[in-house]
Amino acid sequence: MPTVLIVEDSPSVAKFYTLALERRGGFACRLGLSADEVLAEVRSGQIDVVLLDISLANFTYQERPIDGLELSRLLKSDPATRRVPVLLATAHAMVGDRERFLEASGADEYLQKPIYDPAVLVEKVNSLLKPIR
């Protein structure tokens, strides 16, 4: 059963992702509640996809605030974690944001909030899983 690491600072949105991915997609879900936790989880080799929000309240890395873009860059620059697909999910949805964010983060895909259809979310996660297997 593939495992998705959910990194999202809004508890209700994190809850929605969990329910949608578990029940519609049959994935296992874990929550990454700090930058260190996220890095450790992905390094453990047990994460198949990272679902990553860009605005991350309260996330710090080496004692300074860190956002989803930088966290993704960290994952993509570490040989131990760079192969794990990262799916950005964000409510920043102005024109040009998609290109800007993918470029700045090195992430694999981008979803614009509101993401409310479990089927769409599951399909997106699946599309990231297949080429790697």
């Binding site: 600072d9 209700s12 329910l19 949608a20 409310y116």
Partner: protein
């Protein structure tokens, strides 16, 4: 002699340039007209004989000028006209002085400028000059028996009057040019401001879009989960629906904030000012906020419990909004400790002071100045931890100020908690006002039919000076020496304009504030335009006034104040506020 105004004297390079220009203009026009020393001599000889005719000349001139409604409105009152007629005689006397130098030209330019300021169109001045010409030519015929001599003198007189007419027209031209240049500079400044505003609004739009999408994600996502039948049971469905409901409320709050700020910006937000009892209001608000505080494990401390709370004057619904905003913010930005609500009727005379203090994350010193600005959140980065419209404090400030209070924030720094303090005027029952009897004895100075002016100054000497000056200019004047007195006077006297001193006395009366508070109150309650008068640094007054964002802007005059400057400012304000025909 020409009386130079202060600001011109201080702009030496501009004045020097002007002098150069005038010298050149003078010599060019003189040679074009053919005005020479023979003319000067002839005119100097005939001058004394014309002296007895000058009063009649002044009469004729002003009869013509007063045909224009603007002139009639501004140049009223027998005393003022009397002075102006003396000035005109002086002007006529100089025609025969035989000396047509730079000082002469400056004098003529100044007279022209005065007419421009009053708003008399050029053509009126030209025809009035024509009246003068005909009168003087006829006078020369009467006093000069030698026909040939009379003809030569009349020819010289025509030349000097041509020179005067040229100078007069030039002063109109230069004034228009200066006004156009000022206008252009203002437009450029406004343009820059608009660009900056556009940028801030783009940022705001992006931010708001983000804040709207987050609760929408929960609302639509949970609803879809339920509709798709992905819930295990009814209990789980209910739990998700509760989330949907809360996110909906959150969304509504953001939408309301955005609409509020838009309404305030457009000047469309109307307050219902009434007597408000604070106790029930505090209870209501605390009940709401306590739930949020309890959920976070923070103590909500009400320190207003035993206090007698006098009623205030404000909009109950908006006061509630301000309190919810401030207390809600305090809870939102506090993770442990307490949030406290305090009230004080002694701190600021005539006001209730309310304080909300917390032990939360505080605000870095360099950000404190901006927290009340709209669209500005302390942290707009992606790592910020607190969502929301970012408009709560901006809205609160505008609401408090519209109700006649003020708001300020203190925080020792990041991580050290914050304190927001605001004031709201107490509701002072009319019969309690100690100044009322005093007002009843006040009389109106000046002609009772004149344009009504309210003078507010606590310095009796300056008050008297303004009263006399304005009365002599044909205004009907009432004076007041305090905030409360002034509001009462404005209420009963219905002035067209108020002259307000910035510094007003600290009063034992219940209604209290400084001159800028008063200017704001006049504007809001009576749509009464004001001119602020101050002996202090005008830049500071300007900054204070800009913060209130009064429309149209209030002019500031600096003490000491001369008649002409006052007259110009009054004219400008009255013209700006005159009803359209």
């Amino acid at each position: 002699m020409m009386r130079r105004r202060n600001y011109e004297a201080s702009r030496a390079p501009g004045q020097a340039r002007m002098d150069d220009f005038l010298n050149e203009f003078l010599s060019e026009t003189k040679s074009y007209i053919g005005l020479d020393s023979a003319d000067a001599e002839r005119l100097a000889i005939v001058g004394p004989a014309l002296e007895p005719h000058l009063p009649a000349l002044a009469e004729l001139f002003y009869r013509k000028i007063l045909e224009h409604p603007n002139a009639a409105r501004v140049l009223s009152g027998p005393e003022q006209l009397g002075r102006l007629k003396l000035t005109l005689q002086h002007w006529a006397r100089r025609l025969f002085s035989g000396c047509y130098d730079l000082d002469y030209a400056q004098d003529r330019m100044a007279i022209g400028r005065r007419h421009v300021t009053v708003g008399v169109p050029q053509r009126y001045v030209i025809s009035a000059m024509d009246v003068v010409r005909i009168f003087l030519l006829e006078s020369i015929d009467r006093i000069e028996p030698d026909l040939q001599h009379a003809a030569a003198t009349k020819h010289s007189l025509n030349k000097i009057l041509d020179l005067d007419l040229n100078l007069m027209c030039e002063s109109y031209f230069i004034t228009s040019l200066r006004e156009l240049r000022d206008l252009n500079a203002r437009l450029e400044a406004a343009n820059l401001e608009l660009n900056e505003l556009g940028r801030v609004k783009d940022e705001f739009l992006a931010h708001t879009s983000h804040e709207l999408r987050t609760p929408l994600n929960a609302i639509l996502g949970f609803t879809k989960l339920i509709l798709d039948g992905l819930c295990q049971d009814r209990d789980e469905e209910r739990e998700l629906l509760r989330d949907v409901f809360e996110s909906g409320q959150h969304l509504l709050g953001i939408v309301n904030d955005v609409l509020d700020i838009a309404r305030i910006e457009a000047g469309k937000l109307k307050l219902t000012m009434e007597r408000v009892e604070m106790r029930p209001l505090f209870e209501q608000v605390l009940a709401v906020v306590r739930v949020q505080a309890d959920a976070k494990g923070i103590r909500m401390v009400d320190e207003t419990g035993g206090l007698p709370l006098p009623p205030v004057r404000g909009d109950a619904h908006r006061l509630r909004q301000v309190l919810i905003n401030l207390l809600g913010n305090a809870v939102k930005f506090t993770d442990e400790g307490w949030v406290s609500l305090r009230a004080d009727t002694e701190a600021v005379a005539g006001h209730l002071q309310v304080e909300v203090q917390d032990t939360g994350i505080g605000i870095p010193r360099d950000k404190q100045a901006h927290v009340f600005e709209k669209f500005k959140q302390v942290d707009t980065s992606f790592t910020r931890r607190h969502g929301g419209s970012g408009l709560g404090l901006a809205i609160s400030r505008r609401l408090v100020e519209m109700m006649g209070g003020s708001i300020a924030l203190e925080s020792p720094g990041k991580g050290l908690g914050a304190l927001v303090r605001f004031t709201i005027p107490l509701d002072a029952p009319v019969e309690d006002r100690p100044h009322r009897a005093a007002y009843d004895q006040l009389s109106i100075a000046g002609p009772s039919h004149g344009t009504r002016v309210l003078v507010v100054d606590n310095d009796p000497g300056f008050r008297k000076y303004l009263q006399r000056l304005l009365a002599s200019e044909g205004f009907a004047v009432v004076t007041a020496d305090s905030y409360a007195d002034a509001l009462d006077a404005a209420d009963r006297f219905h002035p067209a304009v108020a002259l307000v001193d910035w510094v007003l006395p600290v009063s034992t009366s219940l209604a209290y504030g400084n001159g800028i508070d008063l200017v704001a109150a006049f504007q809001q309650r009576f749509s009464l335009p004001s001119i602020l008068v101050t002996g202090h640094e005008p830049a500071r007054a300007q900054a204070e006034l800009s913060r209130r964002n009064l429309k149209p802007p209030t002019p500031i005059l600096r003490k000491p104040l001369d008649a002409e400057t006052l007259r110009e400012a009054m004219q400008k304000v009255l013209t700006a506020h005159a009803p359209l025909p």
